[in-house]
């Protein structure tokens, strides 16, 4: 088992209300590992692309046998 600190951005779909935001974030984070501690650390609007981006800082638990993690995802 490893702990890994990552930073990532997610698009916040305009139709997704705040009441569904936590589940959306958790489902995205689980693609990389088991979320242990996370927070939204900024929300930025890109008017030219008409999107909002959520920046997250996260510590994930990575089970080595499952081979997840942001590094393995990128490599």
């Amino acid at each position: 088992m490893n702990l890994e600190f990552i930073e990532l951005d997610l698009v916040w779909p305009s139709k997704l209300g705040i009441f569904d935001l936590k589940d959306y974030i958790l489902s995205e984070l689980k693609k990389y590992g088991e979320p242990l501690r996370w927070a939204i650390t900024s929300v930025t609007t890109h008017s030219e692309k008409k999107i909002q981006l959520i920046s997250l800082e996260v510590v994930l638990i990575i089970n080595q046998d499952k081979g997840k993690g942001i590094n393995s995802e990128l490599s």
């Binding site: 088992m1 490893n2 702990l3 890994e4 600190f5 930073e7 209300g17 705040i18 009441f19 935001l21 936590k22 242990l36 501690r37 996370w38 927070a39 939204i40 650390t41 900024s42 929300v43 959520i54 920046s55 800082e57 510590v59 638990i61």
Partner: protein, 364 residues
């Protein structure tokens, strides 16, 4: 329920984001005491209550670590107030013998002078090794190199009868660093707080008992420009005493899935009457859970490094009853007033000016 019953209130001041109140050494304790007095039942976390050598035990404050706080806010865990926990002490093998002895003496002192129930004590098989990190936002974070070693020691403590765990790990010294200097002078983020939260989150996730962390650090040289908010960390050899006091009465964590029916004495998220959070720190897991459940949100001006505000989180766009659940306070004095009003059923609108006339319902 009567109108004078307590109004269980959740106070969150996230760890490692440099809040001007609560970003230092237990400097949110006065605010917590005030809100506890207004609500008569305050649920808050170690970052609020741990002041290094300083602490304030209060029977109507429930000391709940951040991971369990998230579970509580989501309705996955109930809180069961206790008279006393048996606090196991987990020491990192990376602590030098003198530093380890200092911590053991603090634990002895807490038994002898405060009447706490502490033990057993265990030292990890090898050093767990802390890595400090800082996010792009300026928040402090980090991870540990040997989580399995940490967990193994904690499991042994639980098996040996500990009902809560205080962890002391050796942190890298940074007495000459700019971060430490700025923090001590009241202008920086606590560089070690983020990873402390990671350690306690990790243990609570696996053991589901109250856990909290104290960093093992060499004493710092005197700083003549010390900010009073950091003084609680300068008047002793360890930060363990506040952790032991907090854990000694931390509520038991009762998993929802293990319950048949809700016992009367348990606190659940449905009991919450308000959640108090700094403006700018609205992107945490517990806050989002509370918003989902329409728990009144009191947003307090309390500057930190984050700007995840009510506007950025689209809270200002909400309308109707939901928006009535979002209240704003300039400081914690005002937040205490709002809690008092909520608790006693006083319409907040009647306390503000101008005040609008009532509007008749339109059939259309």
């Amino acid at each position: 329920m009567t109108i004078t019953d307590p109004l269980p209130t959740l106070l969150i001041i996230p760890t490692g984001i440099g809040c001007s109140l609560g970003g230092y050494a237990g400097d949110a304790i006065p605010a917590a005491r005030l809100l506890a007095s207004a609500s008569e039942c305050l649920i808050t976390h170690p970052n609020v209550m741990n002041g290094g050598s300083l602490y304030w035990p209060e029977t109507c404050i429930q000391y709940v670590e951040g991971y369990s706080l998230n579970l509580f806010a989501a309705g996955e865990v109930f809180l069961k107030p206790v008279r006393q926990q048996k606090v196991g002490l987990l020491l990192d093998a990376g602590l030098e013998s003198d530093l380890k002895k200092r911590h053991l003496q603090v634990a002895d002192g807490c038994v002898a002078s405060l009447g706490l129930n502490i033990g057993p004590v265990i030292t990890t098989e090898r050093a767990i090794q802390i890595n400090l990190k800082k996010g792009l936002s300026g928040s402090s974070w980090g991870n540990i190199e040997e989580p399995d070693i940490l967990l193994r020691a904690a499991e042994k403590l639980k098996k040996a009868g500990a009902t809560a765990i205080a962890v002391v790990t050796r942190f890298p010294d940074d007495s000459d660093g700019l971060e430490t200097k700025l923090y001590r002078q009241g202008n920086g983020v606590d560089a070690i707080a983020g990873v402390e939260a990671v350690i306690s989150h990790f243990l609570v996730k696996h053991l589901l008992i109250p856990c909290a962390h104290a960093p093992g650090l060499a004493p710092l040289p005197i700083d003549y420009d010390l900010d009073p908010r950091t003084s609680g960390e300068e008047i002793g050899y360890t930060f363990l005493q506040s952790v032991l006091v907090g854990l000694s009465r931390a509520p038991d964590l009762i998993c929802k899935s293990a319950m048949q029916t809700k016992e009367h004495a348990l606190l659940s998220n449905t009991d919450l009457g308000a959640v108090v959070v700094p403006q700018g720190a609205l992107g945490g897991e517990a806050v989002l859970s509370c918003i989902e459940r329409y728990i009144p949100l009191i947003v307090v001006s309390n500057q930190g490094v984050l700007n995840v505000s009510s506007t950025k989180m689209r809270l200002d766009c909400l309308s109707g009853d939901t928006n009535n659940n979002i209240l704003y306070a300039e400081n914690y004095l005002e937040a205490a007033g709002l809690i008092t009003a909520l608790r006693h059923g006083i319409n907040i609108k009647s306390l503000r000016r101008p005040i609008d006339c009532l509007k008749e319902l339109n059939d259309e």
